[in-house]
């Protein structure tokens, strides 16, 4: 194979940037919609008008109405807001708790490390949906509980991510010298370890935002997510499935919103990861 040409190099940088740019555009747009939902929704997402139900998309209802006569567009906006809220909170908590767990495990070593990592392995060994359903059955439905379930699923991911680099950094010379001059463990963790892994963690959290959105949708589809009338993208798809033949717009648009959101975050995360991956820069 010929060595990478100028064209290839340009394409590569362009692509790398493009991925993250496109991803960023999509993600930011969706986030904006989610944040501004109450102001940009033409109708109250909870207000029913059963005499006007299941109408196809047209002027006054650009995405049609659902089985209770509620405006699908408004519900998609609000649903996005709620789905995003759940995902952001879960990933944020998962990131903080998980990273700390991983760093502590890696730093402390010994029994603490083995114990923690073993526990996390066990949680990760359950397929997500199964574990999620079990947690929801115990806790009961509701937005807070969904956040708890998804946070628990995020923690091991972040912990694993933080664990390996912590091990690596621990062995580096300047840590030994820092210890030698009497720096406390806490200082080392905060001052040396966390800043070094922060970048990676942040990039991965973008990707895992998409996972969290998908998890919320899956739990809702299995009937253990956020219950109606509160709209979430996931429970809208679930409700819409019963009307797929007469009113496909409900599931289709809600599902599309899920797809685009996850896709946007994946693109962004992927792009960021490519950009920050030192190996790819070498060539």
């Amino acid at each position: 194979m010929k060595p990478p040409s100028m064209r290839g190099k340009i394409l590569r940088i362009f692509f790398k940037n493009r991925t993250s740019i496109v991803g960023a555009c999509i993600s930011v747009t969706i986030l904006l919609i989610a944040i501004l939902a109450p102001w940009i929704s033409p109708y109250d997402p909870l207000k029913q008008n059963v005499y006007y139900r299941l109408t196809p998309p047209e002027g006054s209802h650009p995405l049609g109405t659902d089985e209770y006569g509620r405006d699908v567009l408004s519900r998609v906006f609000t649903g996005a807001q709620i789905s995003f809220l759940i995902s952001l909170v879960s990933v944020a908590f998962g990131m903080v708790i998980g990273t700390l767990m991983g760093v502590i495990a890696g730093y402390a070593g010994g029994k603490v490390e083995t114990g923690l990592m073993r526990l996390l392995d066990i949680i990760m060994s359950f397929p997500d949906e199964i574990f999620g359903v079990m947690v929801m059955i115990v806790l009961g439905s509701g937005m807070g509980n969904v956040m708890v379930a998804i946070t628990v699923l995020m923690i091991p991911r972040f912990a694993r991510m933080a664990h390996a680099p912590t091990l690596a950094i621990k062995e580096v010379d300047y840590i030994a010298s820092a210890r030698a001059i009497g720096a406390s463990h806490l200082r080392i963790v905060i001052g040396h370890i966390l800043p070094n892994i922060f970048g990676e963690i942040l990039v991965m959290s973008t990707l895992w935002l998409g996972t969290a959105i998908r998890l919320e949708a899956s739990l809702s589809f299995l009937g253990v997510g956020v219950p109606p009338p509160t709209p979430t993208l996931g429970n809208m798809v679930r409700m819409g499935v019963d009307f797929l033949a007469v009113a496909p717009w409900i599931s289709v648009f809600a599902g599309l919103a899920i797809l685009v959101s996850i896709f946007g975050f994946n693109l962004l995360g992927d792009g960021l990861r490519d950009i920050t991956d030192p190996k790819l820069y070498a060539r």
Binding site: L46, L54, E67, D242, A245, A247
Partner: protein, 545 residues
């Protein structure tokens, strides 16, 4: 040349012969029906209560008496050819049909059903360890007087309106033959043996139950070769299965768009039939703010029955105004309640009036409305109406937060007296049972003597503010033993009028059942109403293909 002609002739002969042989095969078909369930729960006829269980049990078991197929307003003799009742209404004598053969099982080819089996079956039905309906048979003694005669002695007399349902082909009245029940023990739950038109063949968990024709069936050999009941909890899957003709009949949701969608499909017909389940909102008068009659009335006025019925679908639901739904003895129509209301100068209807609701709320001290949280099941038949009810109440300032749980948990919660409002959808076999379960003080949840579904706590509290505990106990009890049907019905209406006046419950809708079938399925009778929540498949049902 000759060879070719010979060959053609032989081929044609072969084809004709095969066709001829094939013909009787084509006549005897198996009906495949798909239910909205993941699996059976229990095929013990004295316990199995879910729709799919009842449908299967109805293929395999029969009773002394049966509801006319397709019409629950009439009774017909079945295992019992005739019956007599003594003057005091306490002794009933049933004469059994001869030659009824119990299905074969394991190594037993089957045997003739006698009064011994019937007595055994009712003893079982009265045993709380073996039957969910033991309460129905309390104080009833069944004896095998002679081989084909069964004598039933009651402690208190019952009119035929109240007794026949207990010995009909439903719930505790389904006859469990003695020998296989004793022999199979626990195993009977998943290998039921009865006297019905179809014999249990096999059970593939989560997939289907297979039954085959009972050639010795006493009402005549069934036209179908067998019935297979499939479990398909996903609505879209059931619909696709029907369209691809892999399934002949499917259970539908109580949803009008679904009915319309199915009716639009070529070769598909929809049956909407009763009696349906009546959905009633019960207000827990022991929990604030529902201890105040003005608040209860406010909630009632804030609701439009028409809107709820429209949400469910006018093709399958209708408003109800009395606890007892049509066509049960003692039901009251809108007109009747309107007249009674005018006569007694009270409002018996609580028809939609949002302003009145807001005014009452203000009077009771809630000018801006109030919030309450209730447990609610995820089941579609509850979710559809409750979502609309909640949305309507929201407009009046009443914010009802739903804590959605799965169905068994919901029933557990409401029986633990956790809810301020309870939506309950059901049908009960007799007026007396329904009134007793919901309004007798014994039935009060948690604290009653025989707690079941009295969520409003009537009989324990002062509901109208006159400093006396109000109840309808004696009214219900005395009516139960009346033998004059007309007077009995009038009394039952009195009970309901009291409850309406106290506004302890708000009857909202009655929702019928929906099933879609291929147009070549012929039930064999006119399907208007059936207690088992799914179309009865009996010896007359056939497939016209």
């Amino acid at each position: 040349m000759m060879k070719a002609i010979k060959l053609a002739f032989i081929t044609m002969l072969a084809v004709v012969v095969l066709f001829g042989l094939g013909a009787p095969w084509a006549l005897a078909q198996t009906l495949r029906i798909a239910m909205d369930a993941g699996d059976i729960a229990d095929l013990n006829p004295h316990i199995g209560h879910s729709t799919q269980d009842r449908g299967i049990l109805h293929l395999i078991f029969t009773g002394l008496v049966r509801y006319s197929p397709g019409d629950i307003g009439k009774f017909e003799p079945d295992l019992a050819e005739k019956w007599d009742v003594s003057k005091d209404g306490k002794v009933w004598t049933f004469t059994l049909r001869k030659g009824v053969m119990v299905h074969p099982w394991k190594n037993n080819p089957g045997y003739e059903l006698t009064s011994e089996d019937v007595a055994y079956s009712f003893k079982s039905a009265a045993d709380p360890k073996r039957s969910a309906w033991a309460g129905e048979y309390a104080g009833m003694t069944f004896e095998a007087a002679d081989k084909y005669t069964v004598k039933l002695t009651l402690q208190k007399p019952l009119s035929s309106i109240l007794l026949l349902p207990k010995v009909a082909d439903y719930a505790g009245g389904l006859i469990i033959p003695k020998k296989p029940a004793e022999e199979l023990g626990e195993g009977f739950r998943t290998q039921p043996v009865g006297t019905g038109p179809f014999i249990f063949s096999k059970y593939l968990p989560k997939e289907k139950v297979v039954t085959v024709r009972n050639d010795k069936f006493y009402r005549g050999v069934p036209k179908l070769a067998g019935v297979e009941v499939f479990f398909m909890p996903d609505l879209s899957t059931r619909k696709f299965a029907l369209q691809s003709k892999e399934i002949d009949v499917i259970e539908g949701p109580p949803s009008q768009p679904w009915v319309e969608e199915m009716q639009a499909l070529p070769g598909v017909k929809v049956n909407v039939f009763g009696p349906g389940e009546a959905g009633v909102l019960h207000f827990n008068a022991t929990k604030k703010p529902f201890d105040d009659i003005r608040v209860r009335r406010a909630v009632a006025y804030a609701l439009s029955r028409d809107e709820v019925v429209t949400t469910i679908g006018k093709a399958i639901a209708a408003p109800v105004y009395s606890e007892i739904p049509p066509p049960q003895a003692g039901w009251m129509s809108r007109e009747e309640l309107l007249q009674r209301g005018q006569k007694d100068k009270k409002d018996c209807l609580y028809e939609f009036d949002r302003n009145k609701a807001k005014k009452l709320l203000a009077e009771a001290g809630f000018p801006k409305g109030f919030t309450t949280e209730i447990s609610m099941t995820e089941r579609g038949e509850y979710q559809v109406p409750i979502q609309n009810i909640v949305a309507q109440l929201r407009e009046a300032g009443i914010d009802v937060k739903l804590k959605v749980v799965d169905h068994p948990t919901y029933h557990s919660n409401i029986r633990k007296d956790l809810n301020t409002i309870v939506l309950f959808n059901c049908w009960r076999p007799t007026t007396d049972v329904r009134l007793t379960h919901f309004y007798h003080s014994d039935s009060i949840v948690v604290t009653g003597k025989k707690p079941i579904t009295n969520f409003s706590h009537v009989g324990m509290i002062d509901v109208d503010g006159d400093k006396k505990v109000d109840n309808v106990d004696s009214l219900i009890e005395s009516t139960r033993e009346m033998l004059d049907a007309e007077k009995q019905v009038a009394r039952w209406k009195e009970v309901q009028l009291k409850v309406i006046d106290w506004c302890l419950s708000y009857p909202v809708f009655i929702k019928k059942f929906t099933f879609a079938r291929q147009d070549y399925v012929d039930w064999g009778y006119d399907l208007k109403s059936t207690l088992i929540l799914s179309p009865q498949i009996n010896e007359l049902t056939k497939i016209n293909k």
